[in-house]
């Protein structure tokens, strides 16, 4: 039977490879401001199926990946991410994550995931008390996750940061566990790949820029991969993260 569907192509083997676009959900909190950047990156650059999910709704339907975008949810009052984690949609996001669903938290999204207990540690005021907005170099530490599999271990990515509360903190015990389980996925480095004090933009312990959970299906990072998605803006290194997720989800569907 001829296959007329453009979304189904025969792989080299006998099984059908499902190349339908993934279903991405981008959660919108009051004060989210990078939600449209994530949408643009996924929809226009990567031709994915994306929907905005209002924080007051329940999480319904089938999703491949849920993104918590950057911004200043609830004005960053009390602590960054502290109130967003109690938004009605978060109950569904937590269940989705606990069931193995992929959740990506960028900047404020990372802060929310830490507050929600889906990721270890906390994000605090930058050590120099200044809002930092510039591209940084990041070293990719682990590639055996759905978020980083398409990159090479030790690869240097150039991706912007823009935050005032990005200083990652975890106590000694947690830090030891993160290392043992290889949950530290990104570190701030200099152009040569050294995680020096000078290359640390915000005072994060051990230059940590992004961590995943133990099950490796929840990833939070302070840098903005969605804002490094086209060469015209200076870098498309952020696509490494998104294309890794796409590849991982397609693998899961087989």
């Amino acid at each position: 039977m001829p296959d007329s569907s453009p979304s189904l192509r025969r792989s080299t083997g006998s099984e059908l490879l499902d190349l339908r676009p993934l279903r991405w959900g981008v959660v919108v909190f009051p004060g989210s401001c990078d939600d449209h950047d994530v949408y643009y990156c996924l929809k226009k650059v990567l031709k994915q199926k994306v929907d905005f999910l209002w924080h007051k709704d329940e999480l319904k339907g089938e999703w491949d990946c849920i993104v918590l975008p950057g911004g200043f949810s609830y004005g960053d009052y009390l602590r960054t991410g502290a109130m967003a984690r109690f938004s009605p949609i978060m109950e569904g996001v937590v269940s989705f994550a606990r069931a193995g669903g992929l959740v990506l938290g960028i900047c404020n999204g990372f802060q929310i995931l830490c507050e929600a207990g889906l990721l270890p540690g906390a994000l605090m005021r930058n050590s120099r008390l200044q809002f930092v907005c510039r591209p940084v170099f990041l070293r990719l530490e682990e590639t055996d996750t759905p978020f980083t599999a398409r990159a090479a271990k030790g690869e240097i990515l150039r991706i912007p940061i823009k935050h005032g509360d990005g200083s990652y903190y975890a106590d000694e015990e947690t830090l030891a566990r993160l290392k043992q389980n290889r949950q530290i996925l990104l570190r701030y480095v200099d152009g040569k790949g050294a995680a020096s004090a000078e290359a640390n933009p915000n005072g994060s312990v051990e230059n940590i820029a992004g961590v995943c959970n133990e099950a490796r299906n929840v990833f939070g990072l302070m840098p903005h991969p969605e804002q490094a998605a086209e060469k015209i803006v200076g870098s498309d290194d952020g696509l490494k993260i998104f294309s890794s997720i796409i590849a991982a989800c397609q693998e899961r569907r087989r």
Binding site: L78, R79, A82, M83, F86, C114, E115, P120, G121, A122, M124, R125, N126, S127, R128, L129, S167, Y169, A170, D171, G203
Partner: protein, 81 residues
């Protein structure tokens, strides 16, 4: 009844804001200041209930929302009207 809640950073957690205030106090001549740690102070007004019930509820509020146990400690005082 009124409850005063104090949220402070755990020992060992860096406090860049406290450090900045400390330096400012030094530059104003208050050289006796050895350390400044910044925290949060919240005042809650609760409807009528027993001291025990209030203490239990405020503790829950602190654990769930008002403080982040990863980086902060809390304590509170309950004041009878």
């Amino acid at each position: 009844m009124r409850v005063k809640v104090y949220v402070t950073l755990k020992r060992g957690v860096l406090d860049p804001q406290g450090k900045a205030v400390e330096r400012s106090l030094h530059s104003l001549g208050y050289t006796a200041v050895e350390e400044v740690r910044m925290g949060k102070y919240l005042e809650l007004k609760l409807g009528p209930m027993t001291q025990e019930a209030a203490a239990q509820q405020v503790r829950e509020m602190c654990e769930k929302l008002l403080a982040n146990p990863v980086i902060e400690d809390f304590r509170f005082e309950i004041q009878e009207p």
